[in-house]
Subunit: 285 residues, 2 copies
């Protein structure tokens, strides 16, 4: 996939070499001819990233001006703080994006900063993760087959096309353009609710004794309980209304099932479970 | 694995050739020298099972007397009804077991029937499944790596050993001896709750639009919503108290997370999520 003097991006910088930033760096080196600059607060991580070829150079914030494209791979508020503090470091006319799991706050704060800094900002969210954190868990193939969500935030269409094409080069299966509002409403259901649920589930007094009594359904529901609680608390609080709506909807549906069981109402219970099956079947899953 | 004149079981009968019964028949033919007899209400299924070699012979209830071991692969109440109706058909001194996902009702009803019929009954539950039903979804390797739960119900130790050894031959990773009460309490958490949850989860108004916005956590929580609602309604109602306790526990934990989000209480929210992570870490998962 490498080579090509006509490749539109020469240098890409990754700010924050955790699971996602590290995986992006590796995926870029694997799939494109770009030079990759890395920033991280940890010297050890920078040395590891250099040693394994995930980045070409550890750089200081002022060197971000060399980058055609910057990925902010930080917690949401950290990303805003970083851009605010280093606003003059970004290349004029360059492209900056993020990877945060919520978009409302990001799309409110970053476009005005980008305008002041003279660069283009597009919000994005790679829909991939792992149950482990940090650079040591990063993987060049993390994004293979995943969806790349993109909120243009008023950026020129050419910039949106450049970032979309770049994402497909990294292995993403598709790019989905969306709005901050739609993103946060959907993510509350597809991602945040399962994480809240996994934590609530494993708090059952039976959980520590499950071994020998469990199979795939325990494994699948509990998997993401191995959570980064600092990051996810921030994501949950940044998406409060949408997540509360999903939690209330789920608790209401669980209560309906509970009431049918309590009442011994087989007909109603069967009807509720059948609705679940039909939704999955209608989706072809 | 086949061969051996000293193999303790010559003929095994499977009553009900659905997903579990069909998979047991195939696993027995694959891994043991036993002759397999099959009973099913569907002539088509019997023909398919004969054609693919999953069974050696389709048999009538009275021919069950030929079987050293009978697996009742029916819904729980059906299993009790079948034994009641055909009590004199089973071999005197033979071994009979079931595969039902609840054990309280089974272990109350079947041992007295077994005593009247002059055979030994051991309750069992192979911890394996699929999102598809019926003989066409059956698989000789369905049980590989799974746990085989066994409630002796007062059977002689030699019979328990015979059935345990047989299960290991079929690919089960281990046999766990338990009581009906412990089984039903644990299964409410490890299996029934995830199934109720999956159905409640996909009832969200966002679900039909999830594609492009979802990844592993949606897939895992929603997987078992493709449910056999007739079977699972019976299983839920047969395990009412234990399942309601788990549902109430889960809804209480979800409510705690919801309240922390509503209050914007980051410290409490982080604490709740950290407990989930620690439970998984303590389990080494």
């Amino acid at each position: 996939m490498s080579g090509g003097a006509g490749f539109p991006l020469k240098t890409v910088a990754i700010v924050g070499l955790g699971l996602i930033g590290g995986s992006l760096a590796k995926a870029i080196k694997k799939n494109t001819p770009c030079r990759v600059l890395g920033l991280d607060k940890s010297e050890t991580v920078l040395e590891q990233a250099l040693a394994c070829g995930a980045i070409d150079k550890a750089c200081a914030p002022k060197e971000l001006a060399q980058a055609d494209l910057v990925f902010l791979c930080l917690y949401p508020q950290q990303a805003v703080d970083f851009v605010t503090e280093h606003l003059t470091c970004f290349r004029k006319g360059g492209l900056v994006t993020d990877v945060a799991g919520i978009k409302g706050m990001i799309c409110q704060m970053l476009p005005p900063l980008a305008q002041r800094g003279g660069f283009t900002f597009i919000a994005s969210h790679p829909m991939a993760g792992r149950e482990k954190n940090g650079f040591s868990a990063s993987d060049a193939d993390l994004f293979c087959g995943a969806s790349y969500l993109l909120v243009p935030c008023g950026a020129p269409q050419a910039a949106v096309q450049t970032l979309s094409a770049f994402a497909l080069r990294l292995g993403f299966a598709g790019v989905r353009l969306t709005t901050a509002e739609e993103h946060d409403r959907m993510i509350a259901f597809t991602s945040q609710l399962p994480h809240a649920l996994a934590c609530a589930y494993v708090l059952s007094p039976q959980c520590p004794n499950h071994k020998g009594f469990s199979a795939g359904s325990y494994r699948d529901v509990s998997r993401v309980a191995r959570i980064n609680e600092t990051l996810w608390s921030e994501l949950f609080l940044d998406n409060r209304d949408a997540l509360i709506a999903e939690l209330d909807c789920l608790m209401g549906n669980l209560q309906d099932i509970r009431n049918a069981i309590q009442a011994g109402d087989r007909e109603e219970l069967t009807r509720l479970l059948r609705r679940g099956r039909q939704i999955k079947e209608d989706l072809g899953e």
